[in-house]
Subunit: 460 residues, 2 copies
């Protein structure tokens, strides 16, 4: 093609999206409604008010409004790090010897180091707009906690982060960065909540879990005046905010005269993937185009590729509403792989539905192959990816190598969600050859499925 | 002004500079020549061949060629992370309530985390072009070692990094990242060199020093077939490569219809500052404009503000040529502040001359005030700065506050050289209130000056 494609394309501020895109509005079959665990009835916005901001509760349940204006104050903070670049991986293509054209949307150029900031800003803003006194959240790997700390600091909103004790102790720098942004970081389980005390009494030496940290953060929010709880993935509102990733990608590709044959994203709770593929899913649903959309998950936590499409709790503590999604069961405890952000038992209900209905594919990859791809990518493209992001790199390289065999010059787009500066322990273990893949046995999965909830008349 | 100025302006690839600018060509009085320590005579290119690549030796001594073409292969790698953004600090301005317009050129959006990559790529490329077998270097804080590892990996050039033992032990992740890029990292002092063994014999428990690491790296280079030594600051060649920072800034400001009243950069060896101010120094020399150019150094290592403008060795080991520069004496041991990149006893000879001739100002700031500025900046601009870069932020904020008092709407441009992800220990110590400033006494400085070299007929 005649057009000279730059290595890195940045949209101008004027070209940035000013509305989020709600992909549920275009789904022919909507995701099943969330259910209130107490009544088994579909959740109404006011059921969510005790935990969530009102505006966010409405965004959560709104599956008909196609575009939602991004408030000016949010756009203002977005402009401090967005638009993010659409990158052409020329060096990687050359190193692979592939005829494929590889693009990636890079979300790591901000201090939080990942795409999580796109939703953190929105959630902190709505909390401020509602006049709240503060927010609580949990963090595992630390990307979400960092992003929310940054956003809350900007809007002057107090924040308490429950950080899984294992991370708290292994990643002291993640804690420091959150504290630099003024957040109060508590090792979970803690004595600050009933839930934490109960767990500590039963098992004083525990290193905590994401499920426990969620329970503490929710308890703290509902028992502290003017506090609400926020979450960085899985939820519909998060996918909505993350649609800026996909909208910018679509626009940038349009400027380049390109359209992806394959769109690839890593998938934990689905926040990045749902945002990246949003406009392309739309094209697929409306028949405008037919790109392949690929979710990449770790073999150790294979919710899409080996999970069940059923109603389940969103948290381990079974206090959240139930959602119909691909799940390994909320008590499934994934092995401690280095991509902590992908260790979630379920998957965004909207993405689950799209996968179920055949709009999306899924592959599972082992972490050794993932770090091999990460290191190769770093060598040629000069970006050190987060372990989570590297799952997408692995799949993109595999597709590019298939193109090399077939001679097809496909256009591949993948999401590079973040950087790996706080994950050097993982890179170390890869270099030392001491990294292993963890593939759960069928028996282990069965244990998780055995604890799936029963809901009279809906799921027996 | 009518023009809408974006938060972040990225030049297009076509607008990127294709030549480096050699500021010495425009200096009315050139910097004094480097002297060969054995003969006391000015250094010739061939004197440098045993240590440096030939092309780089010529760049080092060329003070007449104004523009030098950037080779295509270097431009290709530059395009993987350049152009870097020129940022308008709207949020910071608002928080300060200043009428000043604050711009910063952000060089931290690459995996090495700093501007060092601009010269690392050039040096690795010329090594490859000359068909060398490998390179050696030293690293203190780790930014230069990381940048060079990344560049050498890209060009397939083996690299050995001597890392000061104190850093090697305190910053294991810096080591990991270099190893991820294939570099061999050795704790210095080591048993791999005569220089290292001598120091270890005399003081087995030593934590090393930059001077010792330089000695080891140089020895390794000259005693290993086909190896040369490279350095990330101080040298003329480095300032030349770093001119891309200033050239891009100048171009971007021109597009915005702006011109800086004040240009501010942190100064250790001068690599960033020399690159940033290059085109503006030129305007000043030629009389086209008269911006204030400000070097910011730590009070703990005040080479410009309290040093002497004399001939001195560039290294502690006294094995390099002597250069006329502002220096505290090559045996001066600065306190272990957190901005390791600014702990250098001397200053780029070209910048020293410009400072001496009145083209540049200098201020010294204490690290507590620096981290206060860093934290404030992070809160509003969402970028966590490296401690080195934060020196420039401190000075920029001080200038902006002066504008607030005087009501002047000055245009301030500063260089944000890098990110602080590997410096969280420093941020911790600031938050805990345990950070102190170190101001050397006059007696301490006199000890350093006492060891300045004497050169018959030149410096008695």
């Amino acid at each position: 093609m005649a057009k000279k494609i730059p290595h890195r394309l940045y949209l101008t501020e004027e070209q940035m999206p000013t509305q989020w895109y709600n992909l549920r509005a275009d789904m022919k079959e909507k995701p099943e409604p969330m259910l209130n665990p107490a009544t088994g009835k579909p959740v109404e916005p006011q059921d969510l008010y005790p935990v969530f901001c009102e505006k966010l509760a409405h965004q959560e349940l709104d599956d008909t409004t196609r575009f939602i204006d991004i408030p000016e104050e949010i756009l203002e903070m977005y402009k401090n790090y967005r638009p993010s670049p659409l990158c052409r991986a020329y060096s990687l293509e050359k190193a692979l010897g592939t005829p494929a054209r590889i693009y990636f949307k890079f979300e790591g150029n901000n201090t939080s180091g990942s795409h999580k900031l796109n939703s953190a800003i929105a959630q902190a803003y709505y909390a401020k707009e509602q006049g709240l006194n503060g927010l609580t959240t949990e963090t595992g790997a630390g990307q979400w906690g960092t992003a929310l700390s940054e956003a809350c600091c900007y809007f002057g909103m107090p924040l308490t982060v429950y950080m899984v004790k294992a991370s708290y102790e292994q990643k002291p720098f993640r804690k420091s960065i959150m504290e630099t942004f003024g957040a109060s970081v508590i090792s979970s389980p803690s004595h600050t909540t009933e839930a934490g005390r109960k767990i500590l009494d039963a098992n004083p030496g525990t290193l905590g879990s994401l499920g426990c940290a969620i329970s503490e953060a929710v308890e703290k929010a509902v028992t502290t005046g003017g506090y609400k709880y926020v979450l960085g993935s899985v939820l519909n509102q998060v996918l909505l905010h993350q649609s800026v990733i996909g909208l910018e990608s679509e626009k940038a590709m349009e400027i380049l005269g390109e359209y992806p044959d394959i769109v690839i994203g890593c998938a934990g709770g689905g926040s990045n993937l749902g945002g990246l593929i949003a406009p392309f899913i739309r094209d697929k649903i409306t028949g405008k185009a037919d790109p392949r959309l690929v979710a990449v998950e770790p073999v150790s936590c294979p919710s899409l590729t080996r999970g069940r499409f059923v109603y389940d709790y969103c948290d381990t503590g079974k206090i959240t509403p139930m959602a119909k999604m691909y799940t390994l069961g909320c008590t499934f405890a994934p092995s401690p792989i280095h991509a902590g952000g992908l260790r979630y038992h379920g998957m965004s209900p909207a993405l689950s539905k799209l996968y179920h209905d055949g709009y999306m594919e899924a592959v599972a990859v082992g972490q050794t192959k993932v770090f091999e791809a990460a290191t190769f990518f770093a060598k040629y493209e000069g970006i050190l990816p987060a372990p989570e992001s590297a799952h997408a790199i692995r799949a993109a390289i595999d597709e590019a190598l298939k193109c090399k065999e077939s001679g097809e010059a496909k256009t591949i787009l993948f999401g590079l969600t973040g950087t790996g500066y706080f994950d050097m322990t993982a890179y170390n273990s890869f270099q030392e050859g001491s990294m292993s893949d963890y593939i759960p046995t069928d028996e282990e999965l069965e244990k998780g499925f055995a604890e799936l909830p029963t809901i009279p008349g809906i799921q027996e």
